[in-house]
């Protein structure tokens, strides 16, 4: 089932036999997967297949959902993130997340980016913070559009700009992994193209996992693709192979639009 790629380095994150339950309902069944530093991995699959749930277990955002329970091992640099000694707050700083709906804080653009570095004490002075904000906004491809109005509210930006602001906010705390949960589903094609371009540029610097409904997007932005169906990982492999030569019939049916 799982294709054994031969990684030169140990994987950034690895999930081994993960099961997730919401109360009595099992949402994820025995999923094992690896997220590498130099790849973008796309999670695809029909609605309700558990891909978002799985993504949220990777930085323990599911902890906030009442009745959610995770079994199995998920490691970050070999450390089990569900170990009681793991600090969730630090974990989420190391494994950042971008959400489906752009959710900037109702604060200024500057404060949106600066919030993470501030709470983690990454900047010693105002000048340091200015540098962090500028570099995060540059990497998020937003600097030129907002450099003259950093004091404006983040919620006054357009949807696509808001989403890039959220990406900038996530990278401002220098995470090691970025999880993106359908980051373009609320955006128009032009804004989507900009985000995809951004993902290309961020690749290599961060390990990136992206959940998407859009098959073309998965094909465009990712090097590895994982296909989920009904809570199980059906197929996982190099993106070009999944899309041109899927091994499983269910994968083939899905990517050719037979169902989903």
């Amino acid at each position: 089932m799982t294709e054994q790629t031969t990684p030169s380095a140990p994987p950034k994150m690895a999930a081994r036999h993960v099961n997730v339950f919401y109360g009595d309902k099992q949402a994820i069944r025995d999923v094992s997967i690896e997220i590498d530093n130099d790849h973008v991995i796309a999670f695809i699959g029909p609605s309700g297949c558990g891909k978002s749930t799985f993504l949220r277990t990777l930085n323990r955002m599911n902890d906030t959902v009442a009745g959610a329970r995770v079994e199995g091992d998920i490691t970050l640099d070999g450390e089990n993130i569900y170990d009681p000694s793991m600090d969730v707050v630090q974990l989420r700083a190391r494994v950042g997340m971008v959400f489906q709906k752009p959710n900037p804080f109702p604060k200024s653009i500057y404060d949106n980016i600066a919030y993470g570095p501030r709470i983690h004490g990454l900047a010693n002075s105002k000048a340091d913070l200015d540098v962090i904000v500028e570099s995060a906004l540059r990497r998020a491809g937003l600097w030129d559009e907002v450099k003259d109005r950093l004091k404006d509210s983040g919620t006054a930006l357009s949807g696509g700009q808001q989403q890039r602001l959220c990406i900038g906010r996530a990278i401002a705390v220098e995470p090691e992994v970025i999880l993106m949960d359908e980051p373009c589903s609320a955006l128009d094609p032009i804004a989507t193209a900009k985000i995809e371009e951004l993902i290309h540029e961020l690749r290599g610097r961060y390990a990136i996992a992206i959940v998407t409904h859009n098959m073309q997007q998965a094909a465009r932005v990712s090097q590895r693709t994982a296909f989920f169906h009904l809570g199980t990982l059906v197929e996982y492999g190099v993106t070009s192979e999944i899309f041109t030569n899927p091994r499983e019939d269910r994968t083939k049916d899905y990517i050719t639009g037979r169902y989903g």
Partner: protein, 426 residues
């Protein structure tokens, strides 16, 4: 009976006659319903505005005269008056004591009789000598000469001046007016003094300060406790039978009649904890019990209304739960919490019943110096004055109501200003 083949039911169209009579009637009825509803809404707005206008007009009509008083000019010839006061004794802080023993009531009565004719002492207030005392204290040099002082008129004359007096008093007032002795002045003592037995001497300051102190205690207790309770219940408390029970209890608490809270305050704060009777501290504690559930309920609703995406965003970059609450949830919920607080505090400000139970209805002739001094509050003062027999209290009652309404207005304005300020920041 055979059903038609499915494709026929799908393709068959029932023709709609958009221009037909029945359709036109339906459209006309729809417009009528719209107009009717709008008129009913307008009528209810007008009705409530009418009630409000009636209240304001009648209060202002009755009460504004309570802020003025009638004064009678009386000439004093201090060097010849039957009193011995050493001006040197008036230096320092005990001038009032010295003057209290200086036979001033008799001096005042004699001066009044001399200036206004026989029976003149009955035309001025029985406490008019206090005005003389204050004049001497402020300027001891008048003891060496003649001076004309404006003394407050007696309650009867004051009423007659406001055309509410008896026939006898009206006649006396007419004579005084002919003699050019009377004048109208702002009743400063009403704004600076406390309760008294004589309506010409009463003041609202004591009750005002009592209300202020009571509200302060209420706010300082109920706001933080209410907000923290709301935050805990919304953000931290596990969802189980216990929290459900607490929620139901809080909702019930908000609906408990206020007199019950008064009895509770009497039993707990006075009988068990032996806190001072009639004190703003106890009043504030009792009111805080009453206000807290309102703040908790409003606070929980405001916290619930903060979009979960904001919480996700903050958690997603590694904010701890406390940071999420204090950096994001609370600031966003604050305007809503403050609306609830305004409602709760306004209710507490107008509350009388629980304060009667803890002794804040006592006759208190001096303003409270602190939260443990005996005091009364504005609504209780209004209640007490409305119960007085003397007719002079009628306008004082209305004047006190005006003061209470102004207090309320001021408090709400501050709260709304603060709320808007917080809303703008976000």
């Amino acid at each position: 009976m055979t059903s038609p083949p499915p494709d026929e039911t799908l393709t068959r169209r029932i023709p709609t006659d958009w221009k037909g009579q029945a359709m036109q009637r339906r459209i006309a009825a729809r417009y009528r319903a719209e107009r009717r509803f709008r008129l009913i809404g307008l009528a209810s707005i007008l009705l409530s505005a009418g009630f409000l206008a009636f209240l304001l007009v009648s209060m202002l009509g009755n009460g504004l005269s309570g802020f003025t008083r009638t004064e009678i000019a009386v000439k004093f010839d201090f060097p010849r008056a039957p009193m011995v006061v050493d001006p040197a004794m008036l230096e320092g802080g005990n001038a009032d004591q010295v003057l209290a023993g200086a036979n001033l009531p008799v001096v005042t009565a004699q001066a009044a009789n001399a200036a206004l004719g026989e029976g003149g002492d009955a035309l001025i207030s029985s406490n008019a000598w206090l005005t003389v005392r204050d004049a001497i204290r402020d300027d001891p040099s008048i003891l060496q000469r003649e001076a004309v002082l404006s003394l407050p008129a007696s309650a009867d004359i004051d009423l007659a001046a406001k055309s509410q007096g008896t026939a006898q008093a009206e006649a006396a007032y007419a004579r005084l007016k002919q003699g050019g002795h009377v004048s109208r002045a702002i009743n400063m003592p009403f704004l600076t003094a406390s309760d008294a037995t004589d309506p010409t001497q009463v003041g609202i300051w004591g009750a005002f300060k009592g209300s202020l102190l009571t509200m302060l205690v209420t706010l300082l207790l109920s706001f933080p406790v209410g907000v923290l309770a709301a935050l805990y219940l919304e953000e931290y408390a596990p969802r189980n039978r216990w929290t459900d029970m607490i929620e139901v209890s809080i909702n019930n608490l908000a609906a408990v009649p206020s007199i019950i809270f008064g009895l509770l305050g009497l039993a707990v704060f006075l009988n068990m904890m032996h806190l001072p009777r009639s004190a703003p501290l106890v009043g504030g504690l009792t009111m805080a019990l009453m206000t807290m559930p309102v703040i908790v309920i409003a606070g929980r609703n405001a916290i619930k209304a903060v979009p979960p995406s904001i919480r996700d965003a903050a958690l997603g970059i590694g904010a701890s739960p406390v940071q999420v609450v204090f950096h994001h949830v609370l600031p966003l919920a604050l305007p809503g919490i403050m609306t609830g607080t305004i409602i709760g505090m306004a209710r507490a400000l107008g509350e009388t019943a629980p304060l009667l139970m803890i002794g804040m209805r006592a006759f208190i002739a001096s303003p409270p110096g602190g939260v443990t001094d005996p005091a009364t509050v504005l609504p209780v003062q209004i209640f007490l004055w409305s119960d007085e027999i003397s007719k002079g209290f009628v306008e004082k009652t209305s004047a006190a109501i005006i003061v209470l309404l102004l207090f309320l207005l001021g408090m709400n304005s501050i709260a709304i200003y603060l709320r808007n300020k917080f809303e703008k920041r976000w």
